[in-house]
């Protein structure tokens, strides 16, 4: 029986590879870079002896023409013969790995597990990547009829603009903010600031979304080491606890949803996570949200209850989610500037919140933060995970 606010699991360490166009590296090499990073941060763990299972997220076999990755990654991470499973729910694949890791510990079967994710995308052309990412949409009525992944978010953006008066400038501010944060993150793909002018004048991808409204096609990997909460002290004196985990689903086809301006799966996942944690949106100190497109971050503000429905545009305009604002959002640079190797993203968000809650976030450190949230969306919103973390 779950008790409100009681830790589900502890995160004793987390690791991230460099994100970006990692020429010369395959996905598995990036993954063990992330594992090495986590190990360095938690030298008291004996990975081979302590880790009893591996859960890894990856969206698409197409990028590297490689299936059956889970045991291969367990091998390269030096964890054989630990059981290993891959999870797939599009861009939320590694949040799924995290949630399966949580379940495996809550079941009582394991005390320590490794979760993570990866995607190696940049060796493919943009057109190929567009096609592979598009496979997360409903084939007979979306891919076949000509919509792309940016196109689906563009359909939401047009609807949001029409219904609430949200502007291209407000969406552009999300990109400006996230690039500002990413410039402070040494692992980010694009570590440079952009101006609103540059965002608004970048080339059109799917009206009203321009190049700088879109997240990056990146290579990268992420991981986290989870333990039973009561044994976390064996491995670190600064654990972070996961106190809420929510997940929701919706129709794969955007057109079948009642509301095009909000993600029902996200609202459902958020409610579940908040209730489990016994907290309210106003209790959150720092959050990583799924800004695959700038409009997605604006919708996330609303779905997570940080502001009212329709007020996401004003929320960014008022500066609340800025690094020095009341509720800093995407301190890592988000998918927009840190990069979006899709299968790595969910646990990469956990990595950032872990750093923030343990005071390891360097130049982008938010002072005095105790409770963090992650929001990871699959495809155009048919899957969403929300996790809530608390410092030790």
């Amino acid at each position: 029986m779950l008790v409100k606010g009681k830790p589900l699991v502890a995160v004793v360490s987390a690791g991230l590879s460099k994100f970006g166009k990692m020429e010369g590296f395959t996905g598995r090499e990036l993954f063990i870079e992330a594992v090495g990073d986590a190990l360095q941060r938690c030298p008291d763990i004996n990975l081979r002896k302590d880790v009893k299972a591996v859960f890894v997220g990856m969206m698409s076999e197409s990028f590297e023409h490689q299936g059956h990755i889970a045991p291969m990654l367990a091998d390269w991470a030096g964890l054989l013969p630990a059981p290993a499973i891959r999870t797939e729910v599009a861009c939320a694949s590694s949040a799924a790995a995290l949630r399966m890791g949580i379940f495996s510990i809550l079941s009582g079967l394991y005390d320590v597990v490794l979760v993570g994710g990866l995607e190696k995308m940049t060796k493919r052309s943009t057109l190929e990547a567009t096609e592979f990412l598009g496979m997360a949409a409903d084939f007979p009525f979306e891919q076949w009829t000509g919509v792309t992944f940016p196109g689906l978010y563009a359909l939401m953006a047009t609807a949001h603009m029409h219904r609430y008066g949200t502007t291209e400038e407000q969406m552009g501010l999300v990109a400006v903010k996230n690039h500002h944060n990413g410039a402070l993150n040494p692992k980010a793909h694009l570590q440079r600031e952009v101006t609103l002018d540059k965002v608004l004048n970048s080339r059109m991808i799917a009206y009203p979304l321009k190049l700088y409204d879109c997240s990056l096609i990146s290579d990268g990997a992420s991981c986290a080491i989870l333990t039973r909460p009561d044994i976390a002290g064996k491995y670190t004196d600064k654990p972070v606890y996961i106190i809420g985990s929510g997940q929701g689903s919706d129709s794969l086809a955007l057109s079948q949803r009642d509301d095009l301006t909000s993600l029902r799966a996200a609202r459902y996942a958020a409610r579940e996570a908040y209730e489990m944690a016994g907290i309210k949106p106003r209790d959150i100190d720092v959050a990583e949200v799924h800004d695959c497109f700038t409009i997605a971050e604006i919708i996330a503000y609303e779905d997570l209850g940080f502001c009212k429905r329709g007020e996401g545009g004003r929320f960014i305009e008022d500066g609340t989610p800025m690094l020095d604002g009341e509720l800093p959002i995407n301190t890592s640079g988000g998918l927009k500037s840190k990069g979006h190797p899709v299968g790595a993203t969910g646990v990469a968000q956990i990595y950032e919140v872990f750093l923030q809650l343990t005071g390891q976030a360097g130049k982008r450190q938010v002072e005095g933060c105790d409770i963090g949230l992650t929001h990871n969306v699959g495809g155009s919103g048919a899957t969403c995970f929300v996790h809530i973390l608390k410092g030790g």
Binding site: F139, T148, M156, H162
Partner: protein, 138 residues
Amino acid sequence: MGKEDECEAPQFTIEQFYRFLSEKKLMAARCIKCGTKYLPPRPICSNCYSRSLDWIQLETRGKLITYTIIHVAPPRLQSLVPYAYGILELEDGLRLPGMIRGIPDNEIRIGMELEVTFESAASEDWPKWPMYYFKPPR
């Protein structure tokens, strides 16, 4: 199932939806038990799990509820960019997404009336389905 019995009673499937489309008919399924309508059709009602369904032919006119102009497309469609794409709300709130043709991009507005038009030839390669488009009504 043999080839012969396939066409006898049209199954409530996506393949059948596209077969009807080749005949220039826009068809949805309706659950006889609870009245829920499905576009695309489903063989079992997701609302009440009934298998008693019938076909309804839809009016092809609808209202555009959102749109985009796509500039980067997958390889199959890259020769068509930029092209408009939107979601049409048909009778009874049923919705269909698709490409918009026959109107300049800057004249597309949410709320405008468009109609479904059919390109009857199915693709030669997989998945062997026809395409449909939305156009201003004649």
